[in-house]
Symmetry: none
Subunit: 197 residues, 4 copies
DNA sequence: CATGAATGAGGTTTCATTCAT
DNA sequence: CATGAATGAAACCTCATTCAT
């Protein structure tokens, strides 16, 4: 019988190594050989688990998005107030990003836009926007937010804000308290759309 | 003397062609040959004006940033109220971006972070953050914004918000009114940090 | 004892699978993995029976030649007239080829010439030429063929004719009655070298 | 102005080098690097003239076939007797092959059969068969060949014979007088199908 | 014995850059 | 000055073969 290996585990190992290399070099500059070395395996072995460099990248992206989704899901169901939901959404997103080097997000975005290859990711984004919009709707219904609120625009703004702060976190790496700043931003923003009592 | 003018004109022509190609393909996938063809000149001629592909890219980035700077500057000096300054800053930024394909921003960000090669751009960013922070400071001084406002964080948030919305504009290309959404975002945000009268 | 039989059977099984794959893809494009799958065994197992891909190929060739040899032998001893011997040789050769996909001959020939690796096959060819030449000699002795016949050349011609028709059979696959055409060719040829009575 | 080169000449130079390497190694074993070295140019230069190794190979094949066609054409129009036409066809074919290493034919045949990529070559073959068949028809009309001659089969036989002898020439390289043997074969064969007077 | 996971040598191809004209 | 022909480094990927189980 042949060597017994946990194929799934090794796939993950490659994925982790790839995550690291992609984060540092970007998709284009990342070399398969380096991923292999980082994973402590031979170059050829990579191709036993992934058909191409692109495929590794796609799987990393997917893993990344799942992480965010999980973190958000874990937090959301604990609160009721739409304002809390929005804040927990923000914190959950940030938390889901934390295990990843922030730089990977650059390639993530680039990949989303440039190649129409990732319709799945586009789907997820659309879903996020919809979910956030629902929170705003709830807030309007509950009389917390102004009645004339453009909830679609608000959802886009929140998502955009989080992405943008993520970007700032990358550039300003050293002295940037992501969670803290996001919290401040959410506070200001939410107060700004509250209904005048 | 006329030669110098000519040289400058050709440099710009190359830059424009490069902008187009970079926007469509990204830095990595853009070929020097294609830029040359787009510019209507020979491949080798490129190297009479730029030392490398990287250098072309850097110059495009710089051109991009100058455009924003110009647009912002043109608007800022017309208003006095810090809130107006912030809004004009946002609108100016967007206006400055408009002549450029939004996709180029992806590589712009990637380049800023990844390579320590563009310290100049980092400088500019820092400068922006400082400028925006000043507006907030003014607002606090003038008793418009809350006294305990973390102006550094606020500056980061505004820059981040604009970047993030730019990203959303790219992803959501078709139906996205950048200026309109940014306006809504600024309104909400500014209202959120105003001093309770 | 039973183990040996088993081993031989598996060797044959591999050989058959290889024959199939080689015929379809050619030596260069045939993958060991595909042969293994075709044979219903593991990739590594191949190497328990053959030292290399080349060795498998060689054994297939040998099998092929033995098949021809057997077919020819079975027919030759039944006739006496040199003309009949030559015709039976031709028919036997064709018959021996029949169980094989004609395409394999391409690699067969390529292998014979290119690599000095198959001296054994060269030997066999030389032997064939010699045998055929003997038939011609017999015919001359018996006063059937012209006295001045270049029997060496004739042997080469007959072998060449059969090979060449085999090639045509491959190219013209669909509508080609090998045995029929070979028969016509032999008739014409033999009549052409008969002694004028 | 850039280097001025005779692109057509360089293409030919590459083709010649390729012919040499392909003949010795075969398509699969021939390395682009070796072709480049043989042509005295850089590896990358090859790709300025051909898109792939396959394309080089195809062009070599085409060149080969054109050579044969030219040689045959030059001889045919000088004779009238169908027997002479057939002999000149044979000699012309051989002559057309002479400038080429005989080994290339192996890959030529393999290419014809294996890849449906070369329908052009198939066309040419069909054309040849047709032309040869016409010669036989003429012979029958003129009362030189037997009336019941299967001219289609005869054409196939002649083409097959020439190919087969070519093959023998490869295997028996050193002591093989192609032209001489082909002549003998044609004589015998033609005599065999002549009408009994 | 049998297996398939692991490997790395080696091949093709791309493309930024150079440089002769 | 302008050009594009030439180049070779470098990268992806394949696959015969090995070997631990």
């Amino acid at each position: 019988m042949p060597k017994i290996v946990d194929k799934e585990a090794k796939r993950r190992k490659i994925q982790e190594a790839a995550l690291h290399v992609f984060a540092n070099k970007g998709l284009a500059e990342a070399k398969v050989a380096e991923i292999a070395k980082e994973a402590g395996i031979g170059k050829g072995t990579i191709y036993e688990y992934y058909r191409s460099k692109e495929e590794i990248f796609d799987s990393v992206i997917q893993f990344f998005m799942e992480s965010i989704e999980t973190s958000v899901a874990k937090r959301i169901f604990k609160v009721q107030d739409p304002r809390d939901k929005l804040k927990q959404f923000a914190l959950g997103t940030i938390e889901g990003c934390e295990p990843f080097p922030p730089e990977i997000m650059l390639d993530f975005w680039t990949s989303i836009y440039r190649s129409g290859k990732t319709p799945k990711v586009q789907e997820i984004l659309k879903h996020y926007r919809y979910v956030v919009q629902q929170y705003f709707e709830e807030g309007v219904q509950a009389g917390i937010f102004r009645e004339d609120l453009d909830t679609t625009a608000m959802a886009t703004i929140i998502i955009g804000l989080l992405d943008g702060l993520g970007l700032q976190a990358i550039v300003d790496k050293e002295n940037f308290a992501f969670a803290d700043i996001a919290d401040k931003a959410m506070d200001a923003f939410l107060r700004g759309i509250e209904k005048d009592q």
